[in-house]
């Protein structure tokens, strides 16, 4: 199928979170204070939903390039990602930054529907030809207008260290189906290592594993239908996902519910675990450790389970920017977002040296390192793109219901039938949208 079939689903979702929510809260307050002190057409503000080192470097690179190109001054406000996400409704109804970092799909559409985002269809008229249709779909609200400009995406795939596989004498390209995969895990286990690093303390990490198992076993369409409530959680096909998942449990670390995503990453970074299913965003964390660790990092698509669906689906959440409707300088915000989405803006972010896979199709990818090129290859193998469970289904279902259900499953995999019944019951009890 062509590009049109890469329909990108609706969304919510999170980027890795750190614990500095106090700093985040201070950031929100700071944002308010700054907003009142500045104004005028040549000054605007930008809201970053991260306080981590690498993405901050990247965004500041974008902002200084924009300031140099436009002559405008930009106030940069940063908030820790969880705090930013939890406060977004209030933030957008108050005095938001003119342009801010957000996520594509359902999460953007929700706020667009509430009238809190600025329609930027005119920006898309200018930069639209630089993007594939899948990105435009992901940037479009339910009313058919655009409210979002993509920055980057990251594929959810099987990550491992090339050197550790080499020690086992396994060729990464040789891991194609489930048996190959289990063979590799056995190899890791026989060396006394954790085969499959997992963390689910945050409640969202394991959703990626469910997504990909469901897509591999039952196919893209079934997964999409389940997320939208057209299929049942109690269906035998949904149940089968957990029989496969259970096969992975013996290879996992014992403390899945103690570790967040970064704990699982540490297992891989410290060579204590062989493989991990995660989004590729953490390349930057490996690079912070050392160039050598980064060069050792590799990704392949999650293995095939049902030959009928091969490896045709991938979770690849898109991050990007929106313009707030209640900002003081929406025209400035639109100007900034146009720059951010252009090839020049993307290049400014890439030039900071922080790994990123640009969403812009005209991007010169010759500067990409081999890990980034491999991400592109993994992406290209997929026909269908999903965002992520917490971006693909209702937010009042994903976080409060599905997250705890998967945690419950890790506690006691044998209780799966009760868990699935409860999931379906809670879906049925949701209020109408």
């Amino acid at each position: 199928m062509g590009d049109m079939d890469r329909s990108v689903l609706t969304s919510q979702g999170f980027r890795p979170n750190r614990r500095q929510f106090l700093i985040g809260a201070a950031g929100v307050l700071g944002a308010g204070a700054f907003m009142s002190s500045c104004g005028g057409s040549s000054s605007l503000s930008f809201g970053a939903r991260t306080v981590d080192e690498s993405p901050t470097t990247q965004l500041k690179g974008l902002i200084s390039a924009y300031e140099a190109a436009s002559g405008n001054t930009v106030v940069y406000n940063a908030t820790e990602s969880n705090a930013f996400q939890n406060n977004l409704s209030q933030y957008l109804q108050g005095t938001p930054d003119d342009c801010f970092q957000w996520m594509a799909g359902f999460r953007m559409q929700f706020f667009a529907e509430q009238g809190l985002l600025t329609d930027i269809s005119d920006v898309w008229d200018e930069i639209g030809d630089q993007y594939n249709d899948s990105y435009k779909i992901a940037s479009t609200g339910l009313d058919g207008k655009q409210y979002f400009v993509p920055q980057s995406w990251y594929p959810w795939g099987l990550h491992f260290r090339k050197s550790m596989l080499a020690d086992l004498g396994i060729d990464p390209d040789g891991i194609y189906d489930w048996d190959d995969f289990l063979g590799m895990l056995d190899g890791m286990k026989s060396k006394g290592l954790v085969g499959f690093a997992a963390g689910d303390k945050g409640g969202w990490e394991a959703m990626g594993t469910f997504d990909i198992l469901n897509a591999r076993i039952n196919g893209y369409q079934y997964h999409v239908d389940l997320m939208a409530g057209r299929e049942q959680w109690t269906d035998a096909r949904t149940r089968e996902v957990f029989t496969y998942w259970e096969q992975l449990v013996p290879y996992m670390n014992d403390n899945v519910l103690d570790l967040e995503w970064d704990g699982a990453m540490q297992l891989l970074l410290q060579r204590k675990a062989g493989a991990m299913l995660m989004g590729s965003w953490f390349g930057g964390n490996f690079l912070e450790q050392s160039q050598e660790d980064y060069d050792d990092l590799w990704i392949i698509p999650f293995p095939e389970i049902n030959p009928e669906h091969a490896r045709d689906t991938i979770d690849a959440p898109i991050d990007g920017f929106c313009v707030a409707a209640n900002g003081e300088n929406t025209d400035g915000g639109k100007d900034l977002i146009k720059f951010a989405g252009s090839k020049e803006g993307m290049q400014a972010m890439l030039d900071t040296g922080v790994p990123m896979t640009s969403a812009n199709k005209n991007q010169d990818t010759s500067s990409y390192d081999s890990f980034q090129k491999q991400q592109l290859a993994v992406m290209d193998e997929a026909k269908y793109i999903t965002q992520f469970l917490d971006r693909d289904t209702r937010p009042d279902f994903a976080g409060p219901v599905v997250g705890p259900a998967f945690q419950q499953w890790f506690r006691d995999p044998s209780s799966i039938d009760g868990i699935l019944e409860s999931l379906q019951e809670q879906w049925d009890a949701l209020p109408p949208l």
Partner: protein
């Protein structure tokens, strides 16, 4: 209530009428706080109660639709997490009443008797009280997380770390130890203040009459401490039910340790906001205020008789 009591002495005792200035001052002192209290506490509380009977995402007023008791129906009959949270709050309450609060009282009693080094103990137990629960959570998280201090001391790496927060059979008790660390000092301080006010002559008299230490405490000290006891019971109840910050610091909104405070926040924050969160808040409100009103009424009735 404040209005009638202000007027009463005037009519009954015929004391000199307060001047216009006095009345204005009085009105200001009573009226302003009342106004702000109603505006900032009662109106939001009433709004929450009303909203708990609606479906709403919390943004545009035009989107509010009537839900009847659907939110409550959902919580009581379709949400297993609610009962987990009730259980955890009940454990919290039981632990505080049976372990943490009595320990605080015991410490206060020992320190009041000026045992050796009591000043040191007093400051040591009091220090955690000056920290907010959120900070307490951050400190203990540093200590107990997989890559934290305690696991480091035990020589364990993150792949075989002791599971303090992820083992659901014990994590509520880990949290209880953390919460008690602060609560004991708090109770100790309150009780110590009360003990200082107990007339030493009472104890001497009891000792002369041949009462044992325990009898003196139970039959002499405890009854004279009644006002403080009431405060301590109420505080313990409120602290256990309103628990939120420490758990949030460690688990975020994930359901690692469901308690009512977390369920309120989880259902009302972010774009998943629904008035199910308001319904949780109302349940929490009723649970907190019901027993407290009943207890206080009973205590005050005893005072009258």
């Amino acid at each position: 209530m404040s209005v009638t009591t202000a007027g009463e002495p005037r009519s009954r005792r015929r004391r000199r009428l307060s001047s216009r200035g006095d009345r204005a001052t009085l009105g200001l002192f009573v009226g302003l706080p009342t106004f702000f209290h109603v505006l900032l506490v009662w109106l939001p509380a009433l709004a929450t109660i009303l909203l708990s009977f609606t479906f709403w995402t919390g943004i545009n007023f035009s989107d509010i639709t009537w839900a009847g008791v659907d939110n409550y129906d959902n919580i009581f009959f379709s949400t297993p997490a609610f009962y987990d949270a009730l259980r955890n709050n009940a454990i919290w309450l039981g632990w505080f009443f049976l372990i943490a609060t009595p320990l605080g009282v015991l410490l206060a009693y020992q320190i009041d008797r000026e045992i050796r080094g009591h000043r040191f103990y007093q400051s040591a137990y009091y220090i955690p009280v000056v920290l907010s629960l959120a900070v307490t959570g951050i400190i203990w998280n540093f200590m107990l997380r997989p890559d934290g201090f305690v696991n480091g001391l035990l020589g364990r790496d993150i792949d075989n770390a002791v599971s303090f927060f992820g083992n659901y059979d014990i994590n509520i008790y880990v949290i209880m130890v953390m919460a008690s660390w602060r609560h004991i000092g708090y109770i100790m301080l309150l009780y110590l203040a009360g003990l200082k006010a107990v007339d030493p002559a009472l104890r001497e008299a009891a000792a002369i009459d041949g009462a044992t230490e325990w009898e003196t405490f139970r039959k002499v000290v405890l009854p004279t401490m009644r006002p403080v006891n009431i405060i301590i019971v109420v505080i313990t109840m409120i602290e256990s039910l309103r628990a939120f910050d420490m758990v949030y610091v460690i688990y975020g909104t994930s359901a690692g340790l469901p308690i009512l405070g977390i369920l309120v926040f989880q259902n009302i924050a972010g774009e998943g906001a629904s008035m199910k969160g308001a319904a949780y808040a109302v349940i929490l409100f009723v649970l907190s205020i019901g027993p407290i009103i009943a207890y206080l009424r009973q205590q005050f009735r005893q005072d009258v008789s």
